[in-house]
Amino acid sequence: MDFILTLIYLIASITYILGLKMLGHPKTARRGNLIAAFGMGIAIIGTIFIYPKEVPMHIYTLIGIAILIGTVIGWLVAKKVAMTKMPELVSIFNGMGGASAALIALIEFHHYQGQTLSIVTILAGLIIGSVSFSGSMIAWGKLNGTLKKPIRIPKYNIINNLFFIALVAFAGFIAYQGIDSQLYLYVLFVGALAYGILFVLPIGGADMPVVISLLNSFTGLAAALGGFLYGNMVMLTGGILVGSAGTILTFAMCDAMNRSLSSVIFGAFGAGTISNESSREIKGNITETTPSDVAILMNYANKVIIVPGYGLAVAQAQHIIHELEELLVKKGVEVKYAIHPVAGRMPGHMNVLLAETNVSYDRLIEMEDVNPEFPNTDVVFVVGANDVVNPAAHNDPSSPIYGMPILEAENAKYIVVNKRSMKPGYAGIENELFYNQKTSMLFGDAKDALGKLVAELKNM
């Protein structure tokens, strides 16, 4: 029987590798996910039913109930949630995994007394799991707008680092002295939870995807530590795989925003930069326009590029923008979507949202490919996007987003921007593009404004 379980774990490990590999290509991604899910399923079933020792019935019942409840809730939540809320959900699920790892450590601590290295493994799992849990919860709060402003206590960098060092030192002390104290264990637990909160609180909402990705790899590491403790191969392979893949993914996301990981964590959007950001006054007037004017402009254009942002998704205007696109194409206008790598709230989030409305895949053009096209574009239509078209990233070294690659919308002949108001974007900075002479502003809710625009176009 033991051999069968080993075999199941081996197969499961292979499905994780294959699954992750296939998730990296659009064509195989969905199958990859299902394969990994299958591997997880057999690993869980195998673990329960091929256990070497006699286990009382009530424990089996409890496990069954826990799995049942988790499955029903997880399934319902994942099926019901709106596509715009996807990043929040990933954050919550990540936190659940972290919490699970932390709880395992809490229980097992007492059982491994006297084995220093096992205790080290357990305490490391406790710290990482707890940080991942509380950090993910804060990230979730930030993404859904509950915790709007980054909260920074003075000198938070130093305090956080000292706090972390103290935490590790305390854990080291427990392990080295071989102290079997539940009190100490829970103090460490609470300390780690507090550190997770302190770690994420000062980071701005725009950087949350990076933070979630980082915490994702933390949870992977916590799972791997559990695998090490039990000598359980499938936990080890799955955990390490996610830990290393997640780390690389984190760096890839930072690259897409031209930020370094340390500037995300220790704050290039930090208090210092925010305060001197207003040093550069933007002069000029904004030009307001109407749906009918925009309709005329687009009707006679040869080429229109749409720059969708999170605002579009929030207004649930994906469907109507697709209608606009079809209408223009019918009129012989070339229409493309310019997708910034971090459009939406996560890399690829915008693609998912537009794919939901059946926008053809080959109309979604990535940043590097679309930027050379702006100079021969008649109209750029920016809907609910802001920071990703802000020229300050190119020409204002004092700007917090300086150096971030942007969509060079300012190179087009005309720029139409749809926004609800002149409120700054997620990064909280002004956008001089709106004051450009070529730019006109179409104020209003995206769904509303686009509806009027489509109606006008239909009448032409």
């Binding site: 699954g19 990933v90 229980i107 290295l117 695998g227 993914l249």
Partner: protein, 102 residues
């Protein structure tokens, strides 16, 4: 010192796996288009739900009358299952949309 050497010899196999898996993870993610970053993160998120196996092992191995361990284990299994099921289902939902149009 002897304990560390002992530890390494005893766990050599696992140490090999850790090192190799790190490289596998790095290689796999290497050249993924930004479009797929979100589903990929979500899929990886589901995979670390493998921690639920640890939670199940805790419960299977705990003393039948240790109420504290059993209740903590219960919560750990529940949360781990949430991570696994929710993670895979949400990833599938994202990817479903990519597949639809052709």
């Amino acid at each position: 010192m002897t304990e560390i050497i002992e530890f390494i010899t005893e766990h050599l196999q696992m140490i090999y796996i850790v090192i190799l898996m790190i490289f596998v993870g790095v290689e796999i993610i290497g050249h993924v288009p930004a479009v797929l970053h979100t589903p990929l993160m979500s899929g990886a998120n589901a995979i670390h739900g493998v921690v639920v196996i640890g939670a199940i092992l805790v419960m299977l191995g705990s003393e039948p009358d240790n109420i504290l361990a059993l209740s903590l284990g219960f919560v750990a299994v529940l949360l781990g299952t949430l991570n696994v099921v929710g993670g895979f289902v949400v990833t599938d939902r994202m990817l479903e949309m990519f597949k639809k149009k052709k």
